[in-house]
Symmetry: C2
Subunit: 284 residues, 2 copies
């Protein structure tokens, strides 16, 4: 195990995900500290034993204590943080993150980082419609996929440590992926689905629709409750891949419109059979 | 209570919904019989006490026994059944259904029906991705909405009886609606959502996507496992209303594409805030 219990783990950004990491790791007897933006969040995590120490001020003392640092920040803030404070890392520190986009973002961070510190990009495929450490929950990892996206700058040891982290959190499957392929796939399975949900939720403003709704509509719009600050940033950071996925979806949707328009029952049934067949693969 | 326990209830079409009606009603001590297409289905329901008697042959004896008949058939088969067997109803029989489209379909049935038999159209907003009486489950009604769509041909008594049925099944809310408004709303909350799910499930044929998937994608595609025979019929029967809803969705989706393309963060965030606000109304 590369992520052994003698490693000191620092969480930077104690929100929903950072808090859930702290909760999962401390319950498994790891030493965890955190840097957060509010004292209330730090106090909440201290009271519940998610962390042994916490602060709202970035100090060399706190940062140099860590062997492993997990960043749970918005992408642009993560980048600013590295620019401002990377001199505090001790040599050999491994940093990782929860950021849902990779690609150019990873190239930027790896490009600006000190030579004696290693960034291994990763994130779990899970979350909640609510934010903040007060909603932290280590159960979100149960059954989730955990994605590691190493580049040519990463060492075998750091990749192994990062994979360990995924397993320790309780993820169900740990997969490795190229950073560009990652953004294409995330554009599809995560970002496109959020685009669809918010579109469906806002394309018909009729009153009292909730009285007539079944579970299908509820399921398709669960993620329409969305953190607008974070997601608008993620969409733009992954613009090219996302727009490509949206186009493919829209073209397929238009084909279905034509099938209904022309009452092409055979084509419609073939499409539904394919959809039924493919969906079976996705059961947990 | 207009649907009192001295009423004999006949289910015609013992599939997932017909079977779930039989299960719910017999558990609440109603006398229930059924006409189904397979002897296995009938035997299954008899063994579990969902029905007291059942047959695969339509006989006057069976039909004339009923005070209330619930049709759980595909729309075109329901219509054919009425044409073939309506002479068997005893005078004063109330018939109702589980059909997810109304509009012209209701006008056709009411137009062809004997004067001394009354059809009160209704359906619950629930279902499952699987079919057949073997999957019947009275829990599907718990928390569901139940929709009654009376026309000028319906009596106050029949409407009351039908509303009682919704409550007895265990539905959470019983609402009345005009048949044309119904088809517009169902086009949106039910049919459009199924169109989106099957499109999302089939627009990207990449292998092994399931390894990278989170719950968002799973939620949006749950209903992509679909009964192709039934849904292709429902889509065509409600073609005009559905195409209108698909168009509205597609246009809104294109607006979001433009916002991402032009990096219009303010518009994107406003849209996400509206979507978050509206979604709150839909929690059960």
């Amino acid at each position: 195990m590369n992520l052994s219990r003698d490693k000191n783990i620092l969480i930077v950004g104690l929100g929903l995900l950072g808090g859930s990491y702290a909760m999962a790791l401390s319950r498994k007897d790891y030493r965890v500290r955190a840097i957060g933006k509010s004292q209330e969040g730090i106090d909440y995590a201290l009271e519940r034993g998610f962390i042994e120490r916490g602060t709202t001020t970035v100090t060399e003392d706190f940062v140099a204590w860590a062997d492993v640092v997990v960043f749970g920040l918005y992408p642009h803030i993560f980048k600013e943080w590295i620019a401002a404070y990377q001199q505090y890392f001790k040599p050999g520190t491994i940093i990782t993150d929860v950021t849902g986009i990779k690609g150019d973002f990873v190239r930027d961070i790896q490009g600006m980082l000190r030579e004696d510190v290693e960034y291994i990009p990763a994130h779990p495929m899970c979350g909640k419609e609510v934010s903040g450490v007060q909603n932290a929950d280590d159960k979100i990892f149960t059954g989730a996929n955990y994605i590691v996206t190493p580049t040519e700058k990463n060492s075998k040891e750091a990749v192994e440590l990062c994979r360990d982290l995924g397993w320790i959190l309780g993820c169900y499957r740990v997969v490795e992926m190229d950073i560009d392929k990652h953004d294409e796939i995330i554009g599809f399975v995560s970002q496109l689905t959020h685009c669809i949900a918010i579109t469906l939720m806002t394309c018909n403003e009729k009153e009292h629709l909730e009285k007539y709704t079944g579970d299908s509509f509820r399921d398709l719009t669960r993620i329409a409750r969305i953190n607008d600050e974070m997601w608008s940033e993620l969409f733009i950071d992954n613009k090219a891949a996302l727009l490509e996925q949206m186009k493919e979806f829209r073209e397929q949707f238009e084909k279905l419109e034509t099938m209904i328009e022309t009452e092409d029952v055979a084509a419609m049934r073939a499409l539904m059979q394919r959809s039924t067949q493919r969906r079976k693969l996705f059961d947990k």
